[in-house]
């Protein structure tokens, strides 16, 4: 009697899961062929191999350093590989991904939020799923495997069972992959050089007179890991502190090259929120950065 039951549920589960698995594998393949998320954008839309610099960071790096402005000011070739809602661990993964494509850079500008330099990252970041299409790559697999959370396990196990990650992140992975069938060149909120900007929400013109100290001690071990990876590949690491409304980063470290622009914007009109600049602020911050960076290049 039980045979019929097992046959029936076996048929349903095997076929249902089998089809889901095929569709999921197809979904990841589609994303790998597209420019939708930054990891595949880097592979497909960026044919250049050598760069003067790359920007690695979270939303702060993504929306503060406009590589188009920097390149036009100091005649360099850069690319912004920052992804919003990511931690230093993700930025380490992005650097590995960049190098795995056979690409090279002279400088790596590490531009996460100031707090990230001292954060402890016990889990993957919210947007790390964007590396899911590359889970078969050893460095991506190892990255997710080191974490114990359910979502990290689902992604790492997607190497063998792609439906795990694709179903779990269906809104973020499956549906965008369908979208890329129609528009494979569509980028998810970044331009052709990887930049994004926050709009000007209001025209509040108020000078910022007081900057409170924001101590940073670089306790996040991923800073050292990123530095080591950079050194191994002849890349010079520069830690960049983007403008913060009313705060100035203070640090005593001598282990890292630092460009501290946390207090360069002295008017609220340049800010989108407490830690992000808007389009106007980005223009000024990028120019400031270009001028300082130029001296380092010499």
């Amino acid at each position: 009697m039980m045979q019929l039951f097992f046959k029936r549920i076996g048929f349903i589960l095997l076929l249902g899961i089998g089809i889901t698995m095929l569709v999921s594998a197809g979904s990841l393949w589609l994303l790998r062929q597209s420019s939708f998320y930054k990891p595949s954008f880097l592979v497909h839309d960026i044919p250049e191999k050598d760069f003067d610099y790359i920007v690695l960071g979270a939303s702060t790096g993504l929306t503060t350093l406009n590589t188009t402005v920097i390149d036009s000011v100091i005649q360099t070739k850069g690319i912004n590989l920052s992804m919003d809602d990511t931690a230093l661990s993700s930025q380490y993964l992005m650097l590995e991904h960049f190098l795995a494509q056979g690409k090279r850079a002279k400088f790596c500008i590490l531009a996460p939020s100031a707090a990230s330099f001292d954060a402890n990252d016990p889990d993957i970041s919210d947007n790390d799923y964007r590396f899911l299409p590359y889970v078969n790559e050893a460095y991506v697999f190892q990255y997710f495997k080191q974490y114990t959370s359910t979502r990290a396990k689902l992604i790492s196990n997607s190497k063998w069972l792609p439906m795990l990650g694709v179903s779990y992140f269906n809104v973020e992975v499956f549906y965008p992959s369908l979208f890329t069938i129609i528009q494979p060149k569509k980028r998810n909120r970044f331009d052709a050089k990887g930049n994004y900007t926050y709009p000007i929400k209001n025209n509040k013109d108020a000078a910022i007179s007081e900057f409170k100290a924001f101590p940073v001690s670089f306790s996040n071990h991923y800073v050292a890991k990123i530095k080591a990876l950079c050194m191994a590949n002849n890349i010079e690491l520069i830690c960049y502190f983007s403008p913060i409304k009313g705060k100035k980063v203070s640090t005593e470290t001598t282990s890292f090259s630092i460009i501290n622009h946390s207090d360069v914007l002295k008017n609220e009109a340049y800010f989108y929120d407490e830690i992000h600049v808007n389009t106007r602020g980005r223009e000024i911050a990028s120019t400031h950065f270009a001028n300082v960076f130029q001296t380092l290049l010499k």
């Binding site: 009697m1 039980m2 045979q3 019929l4 039951f5 029936r8 549920i9 048929f11 349903i12 589960l13 076929l15 249902g16 899961i17 089809i19 889901t20 569709v23 359910t150 979502r151 439906m163 694709v166 179903s167 779990y168 992140f169 269906n170 809104v171 499956f174 549906y175």
Partner: protein
């Protein structure tokens, strides 16, 4: 342990294998396994609650045994009273203690008298409303001599704690479920397969319909002041589908899981949004609770046998108590009251049993169907709102026909995607239910191919990242 969790996906096959392959030869062992599995299932939330369920089981087992032996009516009444006080007292303390105190203070404040409040930090044990009603029905039925008290504590413990329906029903009657623990279970493949289909369908309702609706419902109800009338109205409609998908999905999974173990639970939902009037809605919605109130409250109050006024009073009492059963908040009482008011015209016109025989729908009945759905949806607003005032304001905001500024359903590509998923999933739900009604079926019928399609839909349309807990767990 949630039905839609990895924990349960591991737990269920293990218990299934132990049940049918290891303990199969002994009924007692199977019952012991069910009790152990159920207690483990329950302890997954908070092991401290186990003492409550064990105590409730023990008290009602002893009381029922004494009731069985006792012949003196007065003593029998005392025994029943003990069970009622214990079960309802436990419910009152854990669920309503703070509510009573706060309401008491609020009442005095109406007369300008300020009182000091002293509430306790009480955690509501999951499913307490369900299992206390189940044990109560057992004692009352023994008292009424409708059933005999069981001699086996283990059988009774299994009946009270049976994990598929422990935390959110269906509320089973001892006369229906307890005998199933007393007889040898034989595996029936067709029955188990129908259970498996119900599990898949229940998961679809919960993970796809309810949890996707929750994405909008939570936003709209939490910030109702900033949404347009149309958005508020649609938010209420989505809540109607959220709570239906959530609760009936749980019931379907509970019934399905029970069938895997050879148990037959009663239908708890019978396509309620295809009702043509409120009376029919209550014959289709949370059937195990409405029949419980009918048998243990409405009929003892006199049912429909007295004068019209007595009849109206009884209906109001049942609906108000039913509302209050759902939670310690006046908004639930108002929700129950609205249903009583909506039921009243049918009662007075004696047309509350109009659709009792016919289940198939015709095109001419669509306006009544839509009207019933809309009034039920409006009442749901009080069910979802945090207070009566908010529910009232929500309805006023709908009635104000303001255009508002927020386009919650299409402001970003992500919300457009969620809107599409919600529309498609509700469409699939209604289509399958409509087909079942037209075929005069009690539950949605799947076959191996539609089941595969539903599995695939669950994978690609379900909410797994931020799953909501089942709404009825809080009751």
């Amino acid at each position: 342990m949630l039905f839609n969790s990895i924990d349960f996906a591991v737990f269920l096959p293990i218990v299934f294998v132990l049940y049918w392959f290891v303990t199969k030869r002994s009924l007692s062992l199977q019952n012991v396994l069910i009790v152990c599995a159920s207690y483990l299932f329950y302890a997954w939330w908070d092991y401290r609650f186990l003492a409550l369920i064990a105590l409730s089981t023990l008290v009602d087992f002893i009381v029922a045994r004494q009731l069985q032996k006792e012949t003196v009516l007065k003593r029998r009444k005392v025994l029943l009273f003990v069970s009622l006080v214990f079960n309802l007292g436990m419910l009152a303390f854990f669920k309503y203690f703070n509510f009573f105190i706060e309401s008491w203070v609020d009442a005095w404040q109406l007369f300008g008298i300020e009182m000091q409040t002293a509430t306790l930090k009480i955690i509501l044990p999951v499913g307490i409303s369900f299992y206390t009603f189940q044990t109560l029905s057992y004692t009352i039925d023994v008292y009424r001599k409708k059933i005999d008290a069981t001699n086996s504590f283990m059988q009774f413990a299994a009946f009270v704690s049976f994990f598929p329906q422990l935390v959110a029903g269906p509320i089973e009657r001892a006369s229906h479920l307890l005998p199933q623990f007393q007889t040898k279970r034989v595996f029936n493949s067709e029955f188990a397969i129908s259970g498996f289909y119900l599990i898949i369908w229940g998961l679809f309702k919960k993970v796809v319909v309810a949890d996707n609706c929750a994405y909008f419902v939570n936003q709209i109800f939490d910030g109702y002041g900033s949404y347009s009338s149309m958005e508020l109205f649609l938010g209420a409609i989505l809540f109607a589908f959220q709570i239906y998908g959530d609760f009936s999905g749980y019931s379907d999974i509970a019934i399905g899981v029970s069938r895997l173990f050879g148990f037959d639970l009663k239908t708890n939902f019978s396509f309620p949004y295809f009702s043509r009037d409120i009376a029919e809605f209550w014959r289709r919605w949370h059937i195990s609770l409405s029949t419980w109130f009918r048998d243990y409250l409405y009929i003892p109050l006199g049912g429909s046998r007295g004068s019209t006024w007595q009849n109206i009073r009884n209906v109001f009492i049942v609906f108000l108590v039913s509302g209050f059963w759902h939670g310690a908040n006046w908004s639930f009482v108002v929700w129950g009251g609205i249903h009583a008011v909506l039921f009243l015209p049918l009662l007075l016109l004696q047309s509350n049993r109009k659709h009792i025989a016919s289940t198939k729908l015709s095109l001419q009945q669509v306006p009544m169907l839509v009207l019933t759905f809309v009034v039920v949806t409006m009442a749901w607003i009080f069910f979802r709102a945090d207070s009566v005032r908010i529910g009232y304001q929500y309805i006023l905001d709908i009635a104000s026909f303001n255009s508002g500024a927020t386009q919650v359903f299409y402001k970003t590509s992500k919300t457009i995607l969620f809107t599409a998923i919600v529309v498609v999933s509700i469409g699939i739900l209604l289509l399958f239910e409509f087909l079942a009604i037209q075929k005069d079926k009690k539950e949605v019928e799947l076959n191996r191919y539609t089941a595969i399609v539903i599995v695939i839909l669950i994978c690609f349309m379900g909410v797994f990242k931020n799953p909501s807990t089942f709404i009825y767990f809080q009751f």
